[in-house]
């Protein structure tokens, strides 16, 4: 059975493309904001991992992950961002809030490998 992955990005094109690229391997659930993401996680309790954009209207990626992690501490979280690494992101990495961070434009092989690695670590 395909693992469920939640992808959060305010750009619908990114959501569409992510679905197109990784949809064959994983069951991709998408959300356009942090709030939306939290709702989706509740709707799909078998979700194994979350990949979130950093900059979004309302909550940013890390704020969303922070909230999600309190409710769903057992799943892994990634950031996929157009920014270079920021102090907030490196803190999140150090604290273990997120597993990894990826740079846009996305490298699907890198992301796939990371997901696989995270799943196997469980």
């Amino acid at each position: 059975m395909r693992k469920t992955i939640l992808y959060v990005d305010d750009e619908s094109i990114n959501l569409l493309l992510f679905q197109a690229i990784l949809g064959s391997k994983y069951n991709i659930v998408t959300a356009e904001s942090g709030d939306d993401g939290l709702r989706q996680l509740t709707a799909y309790p078998d979700t194994v991992g979350v990949i979130s954009d950093m900059r979004m209207p309302g909550m940013n990626g890390l704020e969303f992950i922070n909230m999600a992690k309190t409710k769903f501490p057992d799943i892994f979280y990634f950031i996929l961002t157009g920014y270079d690494i920021t102090p907030a992101i490196s803190n999140a990495l150090e604290e273990g809030l997120i597993h990894k961070y990826f740079r846009k434009p996305l490298n699907h092989v890198e992301i796939e490998n990371a997901i696989e690695e995270a799943i196997s670590e469980k």
Binding site: E11, I13, N14, L17, F18, A20, I21, S24, M54, R55, T81, G82, Y83, D84, P87, R103, K104, P105, L106, H108
Partner: protein, 761 residues
């Protein structure tokens, strides 16, 4: 006197009878003769008158006498004869024959008297008595004779003899006793001799007194002449003196002034004589000075003082006065002789000098910079107020070689070499030197000044003029701080720019137009960046880059994601067309990767203070880079390394330094077309490490040398480089207080000099 005599002369000619009483012939005779002639002349007149009276009287008596009843002429012969004799005398005197006249009168009178005695038939008593006329005439001898000598006595003796002869011959007629005759003769002779002697002595005494008077008079005349001569000498001398001279009496009344005095003061002698000297003083209070001076002259024997007088036309004249009293024969001070030298010009010069000195002192005191004179041993000869105020060097420290204030030891060689050059040089002053100076309280000052050499009392003296520029120096440091602050300001600005860019890019919605839009955006960005660079320099670029990167990475994500999705879709569904489609998809991917690489490298601008800093080893970083670049460096290129043996390290981010050296070494390698060499040298100097990378490549044209660190400046073909390498390197080095400099010559090569502060050696 002369005028008087002339007027008398005139009156003589005008009035006829006047002529009768003046004796022209004796006008030039000596005084006594003149008087004698006048006496005789007027006596003759008087006697003529008297004789006429006698003749008339005698005639009258004879007429009224009943005895005669008529004039008896023989009695009248004598007086009438005498009248004629005296008239003759008058004529003789008028003609100038004085002596002849005198003797005529004498002889004729005596002869007449004796004739009368001889021929008279009267009483013996009256005949003898007649002798008194002779006595009377003879008593006139000293009045009449010019020289009372033998002739006088001859008259006396002659008369005595005639008298004796008369008495002897006529003794019978006289019928006198012998004793009476002897008595008469004795008495009369005695009278005659007595008259002779008396006359002689009167004459002699008169003559002697007169001679004495004349000689006294002549002596006095000679003395007066001598005095007049000396007075002329004296007055010529005094008049020609260069000093004004005045003589004042004991009431200070002016008695005399010389020519110089009248010239200087403008008064004539007539105007000034009699004036009280004090009234000439320009300042009445100076009267005290004069009175004190008089006192000093008497008591202390000082007789010079200065006073100022007011000339007639109101000019003030300063005099140096020397005064001396002149004493009369009894030793009392009678007048004061006052010599006065005009020192007005000298006074003015003195005052001008004093004023000029005062001005100079005022300027020196008020001058804000230090002015100092010192000898070659470092002793201060003179310093103005600023010297003590700024450095604390008080006059008592001037010759103290151990005084606290001193030139900063680091700047001492500069100052000493300036001194030495100045002493050798022909120029009298040095160029401007800046040096530090430690004052008496231990504070450090920055001075900017010049040193001049001047000759003072045949000795070379150094004159230093220094300005305290400590504040200016501090402001320079402040300015550097402000420059850093500016970067913060720039950060704020760039946030605004970020917003602008967001707007710019929000329109990029359609997938198909993304690339075009991307390029447009990049172009806008470039323009915006260029503007930004011009105004705000590099610092702003970092924040801009960070903001923009995100926005560009998203559309890149669309393209790349789209391409990946498309590729997997095509591979799954249109496998047969893969050969045709894959190159197209690959070109999309290459494009995205290249754009992404640019955006990523832009991120280097944004890193500031967030990156780990450690002690980096420059040598190993360079070596690493050379290994990385192994493929890029052609085999014909030789690398020469000459590293310093001094161990050192720099505080930097290791990765960013790698990037710097990679960029520079890559540029060097690419500059060499075929074969060549790259020389890498490191050295430590003044707390910094200098890394020189010299290539023998194509070089950089001088007109673009200044632009090579500008972002997006490149000489490479499109796609081979974004033109960010050196710009990023420059910014990285700047973050660590490093510098990056280029020297280049086209066709010879390029020298890159990097310097960084060394933290550990």
């Amino acid at each position: 006197m002369k005028n008087d005599s002339t007027s008398k002369h005139k009156s003589v000619y005008k009035i006829p009878w006047g002529n009768l009483f003046s004796l022209k012939k004796f006008e030039n005779s000596d005084y006594s003769l003149k008087q004698k002639a006048r006496f005789l002349y007027f006596l003759s007149f008087a006697l003529i008158g008297l004789l006429i009276l006698v003749i008339s009287y005698t005639g009258y008596i004879q007429i009224i006498n009943p005895l005669y009843g008529e004039i008896f002429f023989p009695v009248l012969v004598a007086p009438i004869l005498l009248v004629f004799i005296f008239i003759t005398c008058l004529v003789l005197i008028r003609k100038g024959y004085y002596t002849v006249a005198v003797h005529t009168i004498l002889i004729s009178t005596i002869a007449t008297t004796y004739s009368a005695m001889w021929y008279s038939h009267g009483e013996p008593f009256s005949r003898l008595n007649t002798i008194v006329f002779v006595l009377g005439v003879l008593s006139l001898l000293p009045l009449l004779l010019k020289n009372y000598n033998v002739i006088s006595f001859l008259y006396i003796f002659l008369n005595i003899i005639i008298l004796i002869a008369f008495v002897t011959v006529k003794s019978d007629e006289l019928s006198l006793s012998d004793s009476a005759i002897f008595d008469y003769l004795g008495d009369t002779s005695f009278a005659l001799m007595f008259i002779g002697l008396t006359g002689y002595f009167i004459f002699r005494i008169n003559k002697r007194s007169m001679d004495q008077a004349v000689s006294d008079f002549n002596e006095r005349l000679a003395a007066e002449k001598a005095l007049a001569k000396s007075e002329i000498k004296f007055s010529t001398l005094v008049d020609n003196m260069n000093e004004a001279v005045m003589i004042v009496d004991n009431e200070n009344r002016i008695q005399y002034v010389n020519k110089k005095f009248t010239e200087l003061m403008g008064y004539t002698s007539e105007e000034i004589i009699g004036v009280i000297g004090f009234n000439l003083l320009s300042d009445p209070s100076e009267k005290e000075i004069v009175i004190n001076a008089e006192y000093n002259r008497k008591v202390n024997n000082i007789n010079q003082y200065e006073v100022s007088f007011l000339s007639k036309n109101g000019m003030k004249i300063n005099f140096l006065v020397s005064a001396a009293p002149a004493f009369d024969s009894e030793g009392n001070a009678e007048v004061s002789i006052i010599a006065m030298a005009d020192i007005t010009e000298r006074k003015k010069a003195e005052q001008a000098l004093r004023q000029s000195e005062q001005r100079y002192k005022t300027i020196l005191a008020a001058f804000p910079d230090i002015i100092m004179l010192s000898d070659l041993k470092g002793n201060i000869i003179f310093g103005n107020e600023a010297l003590e105020r700024i450095t604390g060097i008080a006059p008592e420290d001037y010759s103290n070689p151990d005084r606290k204030a001193h030139i900063h030891p680091d700047d001492l060689p500069l100052v000493i070499s300036t001194f030495q050059e100045l002493l050798k040089s022909d120029k009298p002053y040095s160029g401007i030197i800046e040096n530090r100076f430690i004052d008496s309280w231990g504070n450090t000052h920055w001075f900017s000044g010049t040193i001049s050499k001047i000759e003072l009392n045949n000795q070379i003296v150094l004159q230093t003029i220094s300005r305290d520029i400590t504040e200016k120096k501090q402001i320079e440091i402040e300015l550097a701080k402000y420059r850093d602050h500016l970067e913060l300001l720039v950060n704020e600005r760039t946030e605004e720019l970020e917003a602008t860019n967001e707007e710019l890019l929000s329109t990029n919605e359609e997938l198909n137009n993304q690339r075009q839009e991307l390029e447009d955006a990049l172009m806008h960005l470039q323009i915006a960046q260029n503007k930004l660079i011009q105004s705000e320099k590099m610092a702003s670029l970092g924040v801009l880059a960070a903001g923009v990167a995100h926005e560009i990475n998203n559309p890149l994500n669309f393209i790349k994601g789209g391409a990946i999705a498309l590729e997997s879709f095509l591979n799954d569904n249109l496998h047969d067309h893969a050969a045709n489609i894959n190159p197209l998809l690959d070109s999309i991917k290459v494009g995205v990767n290249r754009a992404s690489a640019i955006v990523t490298s832009l991120n280097h601008y944004s890193h500031r203070g967030e990156i780990e800093i450690s002690d980096c080893d420059i040598h190993s970083i360079i070596d690493n880079c050379l290994v990385f670049l192994n493929n890029e460096i052609k085999s014909e290129i030789t690398i020469e390394k000459s590293y310093t043996s001094i161990p050192f390290s720099v505080r930097c981010n290791d990765g960013r330094l790698h990037q710097v050296f990679l960029n520079i070494l890559l540029n060097s390698a690419q500059a060499i077309k075929d074969a060549g060499d790259i020389k890498i040298q490191t050295r430590i100097e003044k707390g910094r490490v200098f890394i020189t990378i010299l290539d023998s490549g194509c070089g950089i044209k001088s007109e673009i040398l200044s632009k090579i660190t500008d972002p997006f400046f490149t000489t490479k073909d499109p796609g081979e480089g974004a033109g960010l390498g050196l710009s990023i390197s420059y910014n990285i080095l700047r973050d660590y207080e490093g510098t990056l400099e280029f020297e280049s010559e086209v066709g010879v090569g390029t020298k890159v000099i990097i310097s960084l502060p060394v933290t550990k050696t």
